[in-house]
Symmetry: D2
Subunit: 142 residues, 4 copies
Amino acid sequence: MARVRKTLRLRVRAGDTDFTGFVFNPRVIEWFSVGRIELLRSRGITLLGDGRLTVDGEPLGVSLVVGEVYARFQAPIRFDDQISLQTEVTEVRDKTIKFSFTVRRILDREVLATGASTSVCIDRETRRSSKIPPRISELLTP
Amino acid sequence: MARVRKTLRLRVRAGDTDFTGFVFNPRVIEWFSVGRIELLRSRGITLLGDGRLTVDGEPLGVSLVVGEVYARFQAPIRFDDQISLQTEVTEVRDKTIKFSFTVRRILDREVLATGASTSVCIDRETRRSSKIPPRISELLTP
Amino acid sequence: MARVRKTLRLRVRAGDTDFTGFVFNPRVIEWFSVGRIELLRSRGITLLGDGRLTVDGEPLGVSLVVGEVYARFQAPIRFDDQISLQTEVTEVRDKTIKFSFTVRRILDREVLATGASTSVCIDRETRRSSKIPPRISELLTP
Amino acid sequence: MARVRKTLRLRVRAGDTDFTGFVFNPRVIEWFSVGRIELLRSRGITLLGDGRLTVDGEPLGVSLVVGEVYARFQAPIRFDDQISLQTEVTEVRDKTIKFSFTVRRILDREVLATGASTSVCIDRETRRSSKIPPRISELLTP
């Protein structure tokens, strides 16, 4: 069964690193945000300027907010490294979507970091957790 | 004549530095943002969550947006350095406010960076430049 | 038994937020970095510009690198919110130190985010994991 | 005469924006850093992990550090906007290199921001300003 995943290529920027000479760990969490957004885009789901999800140009009344995030840093990541970031939907539940992330050095495919996050569907009006619209669930389920 | 200025103390964070071992220059521009906001706060002007200026708890229909910024980096700034950031209003015009910034190492008062920025008053409805409300001008003029 | 912990007060900066109007989740992970560094400082442990740990002005041959981090976001955090960040050492093992984090809104003590991280002791020469120097373990054990 | 310039395409990330709904101005200064590094790379000049310039795989004893930066923000930049960043060498002097930057929205070519910066050549040993190696000057002069 085809997985719902998206792979991006990134170049480590100066601003991603810190004085130790390696990537500052919160920047990896920022990459996870980019990975989620691009995975959604690859399935036809975009975010409006107010955070609302949009499918086929039609805004829905819900947003996704990150409820949990985890990252494991397995090897140092350096300035100018070319990396791949693979984002995958690992679970779609009633109100939450789980993603996993794998960061590899492109040169030798070494895994540099892995991670996971859970996004919670939020109703824009009530600001409370809400059912994921069926259209979104379908697009994110293999 | 008393100047409208505000001095903050900051500690250089890991995330402010890059792989060269020194502060990544855009982080200094971020400090300028902190300096402006705290100078405004010290005069009783705060920003609402939508960016509107608020005086004495009363929201106004305008925001300030940065139109120009300049910085000069005079000496390397290191992780863990304790620095002072002095922000000063240098000019209040019809629709713009100019600020200047001085970053010093607290230990020896050495000037590490200086800068300037111009904020433009924007009408929240039309999104066009707008006259600075008299209440704001008064609070920011010595 | 006294716990090894440190509480900081922070003001949410513009740069901590994103277009949704709330704090961008990786910024909370950056605060965890600040919390760890200030907890270490409160115990007399500082970091040199090359990342080496220093106790009583004496540099050691080891660094701490973040091996894992986890965060849970429980309530939206807004621009200008005043927050407290409590960092605590939860475990000191042979080669690793575990920290926990609690972010609260100061106004009403509501818990906004919690988290945990594991730092691994690394030998500066071999770049491999290494035993935590006894001096560090003592300072971080209640 | 051919100009020394490089154009990149970027997508505005969530972390580039702030609570006002638009790009946080220091992020544009971060893009300038990316533009400089990619322009250098396009001419065969890369940066080592310690900041040293490298040409044809041969490390030189100098680094470039940003001495001044200026930016003018002409129109709001939004989350998810696709932008182009054009970086150009505008002057190569004895010890300094000047760059200019133009950020455009790709959709309609509207100029969103412009800027300029000056990099100073620094000797890695003395940490003082130093002559730009002839090899670098040649590569950056049309």
